[in-house]
Symmetry: C2
């Protein structure tokens, strides 16, 4: 395949190359080119029809796009940018060095430059930064066949011709017709008579997460985007959903793993220092939290010294509370993120969790009793009761913390397993040694040396 | 709005109701109906054109669909199922009681029944279970205008008319044209002359996860699905991506939270017992793992008794290893899930992690040294060195475990924070007390009572 393409390029067999490329979907075609050098890829793009070349370019991985853009003669880059879809070209320019960017912008037609600068102004993570401004607009008075003719004529310059938007005098969206509607309607029926008038819209400043919920659930191919004045300024399309869904989930995953949700979602590209600065803040915070567990142990040092066999069960008991809590928080965080659960549902889930964690606590208490039978039968009651209590407390902390964080305007995904574990450790230590001290009747008296009977100093 | 609709229904003002409903996208229209009783909703569906009624029905939440289907006269249900899209009706039938299902299937035309039984046979979680069989097929010899006429005629019965697939004599996909291609091509050009010949296809038995990667990255609206013999049997469409992406991530979230990835992804619908059985297996496994930490402590009991102030730092040190490990495993699990990292990359990431965790370990060692300065200056060296070691070991375990699980054909997401924490606890305990015993020169001699100087028994 590789050699076939090289031969076509070197032989300057333009027609043959174009036909060859047309046989593949662009996402497949670029995979075939992957093994080609930047130079040969640039030749392929030059030999193709400029629309097709720009389409192909947009399917290349970002690093390859950047490499090509840097090596390309300025005039070719300007031409490429003219043909790229409006969202793609903004993304590409944003990645180029500032000086190159300004040179290119200067060489573009005024209208194109304005459009790019406008799209460029939206904050990362908003719908505005995702949308593209090359959508199809129709007049309400057009007939179906006129509308189809209009879409055909503009097809090459539009992101999609499957939806045509009808705007009113103030550029507000007044209706939408799909190409399907146009095809099945009588050719001379007017667009305004069969358009869908009540549009589902999103705003430029909406969080891009909204796309997954709104566009994903609507089964639509695109949604109109309106600005503060209610003017329609672009569309977001179905192919952005997968990217956004994956990216949003990745951020939540990283938060739940107690790594900050820094803008590094691709860990392959992150260097060591970026990874350290992504991970160290939470680790240090957790050290702070863990100091309290240490203080709990220190406070009950006498109990531990008096019955050192308690130490055997320490990791098991405090971890179990943390594990049950991590389970509960993970379930809640995810359900809140995808909208299955809302903040106002907290009481319902708290009640449910009490039932669930009671059952789990009893089962876990039985399990640890079995372990204690073999190990230290004298403390079966202590460890079973502690297990029940820590699982209960851990689960309730895990259930409530995501709601509390949401209420305080933090992302609930910050209720990470490590944070829950550390918090549950504190309560676990206190519960364990309090129960032990109470059951062993240790209370306030200091422990004595088992051998000599004297009071032990620390 | 509510009363307006009620009046239209009760007044049997069919035309007015149809026009009203047509003004909204079906996903919005069903929201308006949400407050209506099942009975009134059934009336609305009856009054609409059957295609529109079926479309609207498919946008209702599942519970409402089920309620309506149960209450509907049999003849109406049969009619509704005839008009529903092929994937929707299979899903609906699968949720009905077996007896109802068989009655309905018997009343359907033979062809419809065969189609349903076939789609019904694919395993949950495969592309086969997601696809729909109502796709558009074209003949290679059709002209563009004939093809458009064909799509127009079939529009109501097809999931999408935006792609027409050309099949060969053995039903294998030979090419595809989009409605856009058809519109922009000269009306009398032949489909076979401008169709894309090399199709991106998926198989009925592929994991539905593949949809996100393949369809999501292609920007296509639909992909053809082929069976074992290479025959085209259906399409999967863009609107399934969001659902699959969200569901797959949810499964991974639940695994990472150490709750089994049982088929319960909606925790609102899960009852207490389902939640318990989803959570208890991992909790019990982790108890088993934690017993080893306990054994580690018991083995070093003498060291702990001799220097009880070591207990203060125990949760802090072993948790820090677990936390660093959880971070590393979360980053890896997610990167493996979205294809940023592949199994063969393990050595690259292990090397990177050694550098990252060394830096983190040194910083954390410094942090714990500060705490020790105030608390127990005599063990600064022990706790700092332990911190460095546990962070290093934890991070490496967290990095490697997802790769090992993948290699063993488990889902890497099973490398959950609780599992990593528990494993790191074991290594943390061993590292801590070994370093302490070594630095304090405790070695094999038993500790003595500080007060009386006699050897302490356990």
């Amino acid at each position: 395949m590789h050699e076939k393409i090289e031969a076509m390029i070197k032989g300057n067999r333009t027609e043959e190359l174009r036909e060859f490329v047309d046989g593949f979907h662009p996402s497949v075609a670029v995979e075939i080119f992957e093994s080609l050098s930047s130079e040969l890829t640039a030749s392929v793009l030059r030999m193709l029809d400029p629309h097709k070349g720009a389409e192909l370019f947009s399917f290349l991985p970002e690093e390859k796009q950047d490499a090509l853009a840097r090596e390309m003669p300025e005039a070719n880059l300007v031409k490429l940018i003219t043909y790229l879809s409006h969202d793609e070209r903004v993304d590409l320019l944003a990645r180029l060095p500032d000086t190159t960017k300004e040179v290119i912008l200067d060489k573009l037609a005024n209208e194109e430059e304005r459009d790019i600068r406008k799209l460029y102004g939206y904050d990362e993570g908003t719908i505005g930064a995702l949308m593209t401004s090359d959508f199809a607009s129709l007049s309400p008075g057009m007939t179906a066949s006129e509308a189809i003719a209009h879409l055909r004529e503009k097809a090459h310059d539009l992101e999609t011709i499957y939806y045509g938007y009808v705007l009113d005098d103030e550029s507000r969206p007044a209706g939408v017709v799909s190409l399907k509607d146009l095809i099945v309607s009588p050719p001379d029926s007017k667009v305004e008579d069969f358009m869908t008038r009540h549009l589902i819209t999103v705003h430029t400043r909406d969080d891009d997460e909204k796309l997954v919920q709104v566009l994903g659930r609507s089964d639509l191919i695109a949604l109109p985007v309106i600005d503060r004045q209610g003017k329609m300024v672009g569309i977001v399309t179905h192919d952005d959903i997968a990217d956004v869904a994956v990216e949003e989930s990745t951020e939540d995953f990283h938060r739940l793993g107690a790594t900050g949700a820094l803008p590094i979602t691709n860990i392959r590209q992150a260097n060591a220092w970026q990874l350290v600065s992504k991970r160290i803040p939470w680790l240090l915070i957790l050290v702070g939290v863990n100091v309290f567990s240490g203080m709990g142990i220190a406070y009950h040092e006498d109990t531990l010294t008096a019955m050192i066999s308690l130490a055997f069960f320490l990791p098991l008991l405090i971890d179990s509370g943390g594990n049950a809590g991590s389970q509960a928080s993970t379930l809640m965080v995810r359900a809140l993120a995808i909208g299955d659960v809302r903040t106002r549902d907290w009481l319902y889930f708290l009640r449910k969790e009490i039932a669930v964690s009671l059952i789990i606590g009893l089962l876990m208490g039985a399990a640890v009793a079995v372990v204690a039978t073999f190990r230290s039968p004298e403390i079966i009651a202590i460890v079973s009761l502690t297990m029940l209590s820590t699982v209960l407390v851990g689960s309730l902390i895990g259930t409530l913390l995501p709601f509390i964080l949401t209420k305080l305007k933090f992302d609930p995904a910050n209720a990470s397993a490590p944070l829950i574990t550390s918090i549950c450790d504190i309560s676990g230590v206190l519960i364990y040694f309090s129960i032990a001290a109470w059951m062993l009747g240790l209370g306030p008296e200091p422990p004595v040396c088992e051998t000599c009977g004297q009071i032990l100093s620390e």
